[in-house]
């Protein structure tokens, strides 16, 4: 019995429910959610350790046999992502204490936060395509509430659009699952993979693959479907943006990674080439946005788009190096994006503006914020030995192996542009003549900096410990290269 596989979902679910009863007592909510997320981190570490020792773990929910019931599957990839999710959740909850405001805290903020973690962890762990849809919806429902929570005008306006986009993509998800069900007659992903292998991916399966790409691309914001992201991620307060930017889009990417390596790997000529082209276009659009704006939030938001492009490009190449690179990069990006959002959140709190032209000289009063931001920035760019390096290097190696030199050039140039966009924040914000900011004294900078430093610290450890991490990453890559491992583990043949 492997009930530990389901505990990362069950724990935040129970926590969220208990928090619903205590909406009056903010103190209890804070303490309880921090304790719960800490327990979640411990659980995830145990899960990673167990998967490392025993291989892929599965749980047949409700004791229904594998292809008929829902299976929860913890392979190394899912476990690592669950661990990262919990780490980020912890940092953002601590950050929220001093920045989200009493009004939102009283309105079930922490409970909804836990439900979002339920959705994200569940989406990573499930081995059933319809269950993936359900966890997506749990996650989206929580994100709708978080986006609208507080009810300021821009938030209401943007959440209307966000919900509309996601309702349409959910309908498309249901439609695509219906098509898939009519072709293979099963919903268990391992079983689907086995059955598709038998019919060898005819045209209809390619149609389904592209429909899935549209569905997950809408959630993950890849090139033609990213239009909603800059607006929606701009509206809510910083901790919520950090949460969305670090987790939500990555769930879409993870789903693309899972379906394109497990289900639709037979006819790569069409689907994966399409994926590669879209990835490169995503990078280019992201770079244009990141370089063009003078608004700190927008710059980081467009950096999300760039990172998505890089990861998807790694997936589209489908070889050992590029997939390991994508996994390295996705974990790195989740951590560092959350850290960057938290850091610019501090800057915005101090200066009261997003506009880079209106701030300067912060390094004198806030040296720690400045240098933490600097380290986070060069980690994101991938300057060795920081954490972005290994992932990008592996993706580039994969590109060389696949002979995709255009992709290589785009990624290398994009790194330069990312460096430029972040140094723009650093130089304009921290260098220059110090200015007086009226609200600066009331900001609890130390308390806000703590979670950001924690995340940057994790990212540094991740970067310097690449050698130690590599066995885990390569174990995570194995089932992606050879779906047989995943199928055997789930169906126990």
């Amino acid at each position: 019995m492997n009930n530990i596989v389901f505990l990362p979902v069950l724990l935040p679910l129970l926590t969220g429910i208990v928090l619903l009863f205590f909406s009056k007592s903010i103190k209890f909510q804070r303490v309880f959610s921090v304790l719960s997320v800490l327990a979640g981190i411990l659980l995830a570490v145990m899960l990673v350790g167990k998967v490392h020792g025993q291989g892929i773990l599965t749980l047949q929910v409700g004791s229904w046999e594998a292809p008929f019931g829902i299976v929860i599957v913890a392979d190394m990839l899912a476990s690592l992502l669950v661990l990262t999710t919990n780490l980020i959740g912890f940092a953002i909850i601590v950050y929220s204490f001093y920045s989200i405001g009493k009004e939102r805290e009283r309105f079930y903020y922490y409970a909804i936060f836990q439900f979002l973690l339920v959705g994200v962890n569940g989406a990573f762990l499930t081995g059933d395509i319809f269950n993936l849809f359900v966890f997506f919806e749990v996650m989206l429902m929580a994100s709708y509430v978080l986006l609208a929570l507080g009810g300021t005008k821009p938030q209401l306006r943007e959440s209307l659009k966000y919900i509309l986009v996601n309702v349409i993509s959910s309908a498309l998800f249901v439609i695509t699952v219906a098509y898939l069900y009519s072709v293979v007659g099963t919903l268990n992903m391992a079983d689907i993979s086995r059955k598709i292998a038998k019919i060898d991916q005819p045209g209809i399966v390619t149609v389904i693959a592209v429909s899935f790409l549209i569905v997950f691309g809408l959630k993950g914001a890849i090139f033609p479907l990213f239009f909603w992201l800059p607006g929606s991620y701009y509206a809510p307060p910083i901790p919520i943006i950090a949460l969305f930017g670090a987790l939500l889009t990555k769930v879409g990417i993870y789903s693309i990674l899972r379906t394109y390596t497990l289900l639709f790997y037979h006819d790569q000529g069409y689907t994966h080439q399409l994926l590669g082209i879209l990835a490169l276009l995503t990078i280019i659009v992201g770079v244009i946005g990141a370089v063009g704006y003078w608004d700190m939030k927008k710059i980081i938001i467009y950096n999300i788009v760039i990172a998505i492009g890089v990861i998807i490009f790694g997936i589209s190449l489908m070889n050992q190096q590029s997939l390991s690179g994508s996994i390295f990069y996705i974990i790195h990006d989740m951590i560092i994006k959350a850290a960057l959002f938290l850091l610019i959140g501090i800057i915005i709190k101090i200066t009261g503006t997003n506009n880079l032209r209106e701030i300067s000289g912060l390094i004198k009063a806030y040296p720690y914020v400045g240098w933490t931001f600097f380290i986070a920035a060069i980690s994101l760019v991938g300057i060795p030995p920081f954490s972005g390096f290994a992932g990008k290097l592996l993706i580039l190696q994969g590109a060389v192996k696949a002979g995709s030199y255009i992709g290589m050039a785009v990624i290398l140039l994009s790194s330069l542009m990312v460096l430029y966009s972040l140094m723009k924040i650093f130089i304009n914000g921290f260098w220059g003549i110090p200015r007086a900011y009226p609200d600066a004294d009331r900001v609890p900078v130390k308390m806000l900096l703590l979670p950001a430093v924690l995340l940057v610290g994790v990212s540094i450890v991740y970067g310097f410990g690449t050698e130690a991490m590599y066995p885990f990453i390569s174990q995570a890559t194995e089932p992606l290269i050879d779906p047989g491992i995943y199928i055997n583990a789930v169906l126990k043949e």
Partner: protein
């Protein structure tokens, strides 16, 4: 029967698209409702239309219909019920706040109001 279902689903999708392209929030929400109805009917058709008895043990028939699409539809209905009701409440709040239900007037501007 499948052809009839295909036509019905097509009409639902068509009306949904038409409604969602209009400017009023309420029409858009009705459009999303029709869209999900279409999707549910599609699952039903894709899972195979009724050829056996109701999937209940008490029926004691030789063949039963596949219960899985029905379970999927029930789940999807519950989810779309939740999302639609949230959407409606949010639209109502937006209407109170902005005094309009015209999507054209709810455009985001670069500057944060």
């Amino acid at each position: 029967m499948e052809i009839l279902m295909a036509v019905v689903i097509g009409i639902l999708f068509m009306s949904a698209t038409y409604l969602m392209l209009s400017k009023s929030i309420l029409r858009i929400i009705i459009g999303t409702g029709l869209l999900s109805h279409g999707a549910h009917l599609l699952i039903l058709t894709m899972g195979g239309l009724k050829r056996g008895s109701v999937p209940l043990l008490s029926e004691q028939a030789n063949s039963y219909v596949d219960p899985l699409p029905q379970a999927l539809i029930l789940t999807a209905i519950v989810i779309s019920f939740g999302v639609t009701s949230f959407f409606l409440v949010l639209a109502y709040r937006t209407y109170q706040e902005f005094g309009t239900d015209n999507m054209d007037r709810l455009r985001g501007k670069e500057a944060n109001e």
